[in-house]
């Protein structure tokens, strides 16, 4: 064994980061943990409740419904946005003046504030004055997202696809641009079909960025709040009440801080678990 002089001074260098993380993550999280096991009536009066709120939330049909809605929504947008993003990235030029034009166009939706996206789509889709609403109704469809749950879902999904596919495109494009020309040349010499090139060169080279894309889109869509809140307000009825909207209703609408805290912890653990599961499964075969 080689003995080294131990020098603990380096800890001081990471102290600022520890403090920062403590203030913006650990302390708020612990506050939530604190609320989740107690009952409060204001005036800083707390009563110990143990795991009661957790049991209550986990057994409540309202939470189940919101969770199912959330999983369905996230599943649908992932199924649309990932393949669509990859398809668009494959069509984008690899060199020349059009590259920057395409990139700027693609980045535009990402630069718009989320509540503005919601407001835009709200007006766009209104059946009486919105362009989309008017056009759809003119073609004979009975489209009204404020009344019809299916129309509301279609609108929310369309909005999310419009807003976030660009992120997948940009990530996939970055993955594609990192493939050296020699791969395409070798594939041409080996007589590979277009599909074989995609399957054996492009897709494997995009794997890492696509993993990141799926994780980002999964986490973001699982937390979605602002856009559907502005667009549909969670309605009609509870049709588009996703987890976050439900959570805010519980916490701020009803001031049930205990159950809301329990709910957010459950909800946090679900995201953590699913992300970990996905990452571990996709990266299982990496390395040798």
């Amino acid at each position: 064994m080689i003995t080294k002089t131990r020098n603990q001074k380096a800890w001081f260098l990471v102290l600022p980061v520890i403090l920062l993380v403590a203030f913006n993550a650990i302390i708020p999280l612990m506050t939530v943990v604190n609320y989740s096991v107690q009952e409060t009536f204001g005036d800083n009066l707390f009563f110990w409740e143990g795991v009661r709120w957790f049991e209550e939330v986990l057994h409540s049909p309202r939470f189940h419904e919101a969770l199912v809605r959330q999983l369905t929504f996230t599943g649908i947008i992932l199924l649309i946005e990932i393949p669509l993003g990859v398809m668009i990235a494959l069509q984008m030029p690899r060199s020349g003046p059009w590259v920057s034009v395409c990139l700027v166009l693609m980045a535009l939706p990402l630069l718009i504030p989320w509540n503005v996206v919601g407001a835009m789509w709200n007006i766009f889709a209104l059946p009486d004055i919105g362009l989309l609403g008017r056009v759809l109704n003119a073609t004979g469809l009975d489209y009204n997202f404020t009344r019809d749950p299916l129309a509301a879902w279609v609108t929310v999904i369309l909005m999310d696809v419009w807003h976030w596919t660009s992120l997948v495109v940009l990530l996939a494009y970055a993955g594609l641009s990192s493939i050296p020309d020699a791969y395409y040349q070798a594939a041409r010499i080996d007589g590979a079909s277009r599909w074989a090139i995609f399957r054996y060169i492009q897709l494997p080279k995009m794997k890492r960025v696509l993993t990141i894309a799926v994780l980002l889109r999964f986490m973001d869509s699982f937390m979605i709040y602002t856009e559907p809140f502005v667009l549909t307000g969670g309605g009609p009825g509870n049709a588009t009440t996703f987890l976050s909207i439900d959570l805010v209703k519980t916490a701020l609408g009803q001031f049930d801080l205990g159950p809301a805290a329990a709910m957010s912890l459950i909800y946090f653990l679900i995201i953590l678990l699913l992300s970990w599961l996905f990452y571990t499964l996709t990266m299982r075969n990496e390395g040798h």
Binding site: A182, Y183, Q185, A186, R188, D190, A192, A196, Y200, H288
Partner: protein, 362 residues
């Protein structure tokens, strides 16, 4: 297998080439004999890779024709030319095993699995990859990956030629030599034409029977290593081949004799260039053929570098550097001395091209 003919090939990467400098390849006529081992040698940017890509079909030449045997293939895509190409950086299909990598070109051509298996096993044995056939290709070292690239070329039984584009760039030095001998051995076994692009003259000389030297988009000389060394057709070849390169000294004609540095070095060649006045004249002589003598160009000995069996002596006449190569036994004079050139090994260059005995250029 077939002989490869390049007929008046010109290529420019620009849509509308205007001047000489816009052409990456300037009018090239070449015949690559069936089964030959060629090296394409030249500095970076001289058009080596362009030429290779035109032969393999990755590039369509701006003008000219490419023929395999009697058949014109100028417009055929790479997969219909039966060409194998190994690139500078190893290309392997990461997600596949070594076996699937080797089988890939055959499966793309729709061969049945039995034939595929037989070919893959045969080639794997040839390139020493049998033991790692079922490993993931991504896990191999650089030389293993380069062997896979090569194997994917060899696995097709109908290969016309195997093209190598600086294939040993990323290989560890001690493995380079091994892989190069492997290539030589494969050339003997497979018998396909091999064209090997490199900027390393040792690599070129050890691999090839014929070395083709390119410079500025042109082939300046094609010949055996000995020809390139003894009678460089162009001052670039003299300079590029050999270490140290050829001494190239400005010259002029005086009374039918060639004079450089105020001293007559060639007595006869002078008459032959009399007609071509106005051209730039240079004398080229290898350091091997320069010796210290009583008579000759007066020089000052600057420095002596020992390179094992030889000593490289840098001398200077006024501003002109003249290198002398001495065997270790020969004495090195101090201070000022005189050097002379072996006349039969001294060449006269007119506008950079060598003047032959017959009076032709190159």
């Amino acid at each position: 297998m077939a002989q490869i003919t390049l007929d008046g090939i010109r290529h420019s990467y620009l849509a509308a080439p205007s001047g000489e400098q816009d052409w990456a390849l300037k009018n090239m006529d070449m015949v690559w004999e069936d089964g030959g081992a060629y090296a394409l040698l030249g500095s970076s940017g001289c058009g080596k890779t362009t030429l290779l890509n035109i032969i393999s079909g990755l590039l369509m030449p701006t003008a000219g024709r490419v023929l395999f045997g009697e058949k014109e293939v100028t417009a055929l895509p790479p997969d219909q030319r039966n060409i194998a190409q190994v690139f500078q950086f190893p290309v392997v299909y990461d997600t596949m095993t070594v076996y699937d990598n080797l089988a890939f070109p055959l499966r793309n051509r729709g061969l049945d699995e039995k034939t595929v298996d037989a070919r893959v096993q045969e080639i794997a044995a040839m390139i020493d990859l049998t033991s790692s056939l079922h490993n993931r290709a991504a896990g191999l070292t650089a030389d293993g990956k380069q062997k896979i690239s090569l194997g994917r070329g060899l696995v097709r039984s109908d290969v016309n030629a195997i093209l190598f584009d600086e294939p040993l760039t990323v290989i560890d030095p001690h493995l380079k030599w091994q892989l190069r001998s492997k290539l030589k051995e494969l050339h003997h076994r497979v018998g396909a034409t091999m064209i090997y692009v490199t900027h390393d003259q040792t690599e070129a000389m050890t691999f090839a029977d014929q070395v083709v030297v390119m410079h500025g988009g042109r082939v300046v000389q094609a010949g055996t290593p000995v020809e390139l060394f003894e009678t460089p057709a162009h001052t670039f070849v003299g300079h590029f081949i050999g270490s140290p390169g050829m001494n190239i000294l400005p010259a002029h004609i005086c009374d039918g004799q060639v004079v450089t540095q105020g001293t007559v070095v060639l007595t006869t060649a002078g008459q032959r260039v009399a007609a071509q006045s106005g051209a730039r004249l240079e004398v080229g002589v290898r350091p091997e053929h320069v010796y210290f003598a009583r008579e000759g160009i007066e020089v000052e000995v600057l420095k002596v570098a020992d390179s094992g069996r030889f000593r490289i002596v840098d001398t200077r006449h006024e501003q002109q550097l003249i290198r002398v190569l001495l065997s270790e036994a020969e004495p090195v004079p101090q201070g000022s001395a005189r050097v002379a050139f072996r006349a039969e090994k001294t060449h006269l260059y007119v506008d950079q091209w060598r003047l032959t005995k017959g009076g032709d250029l190159r």
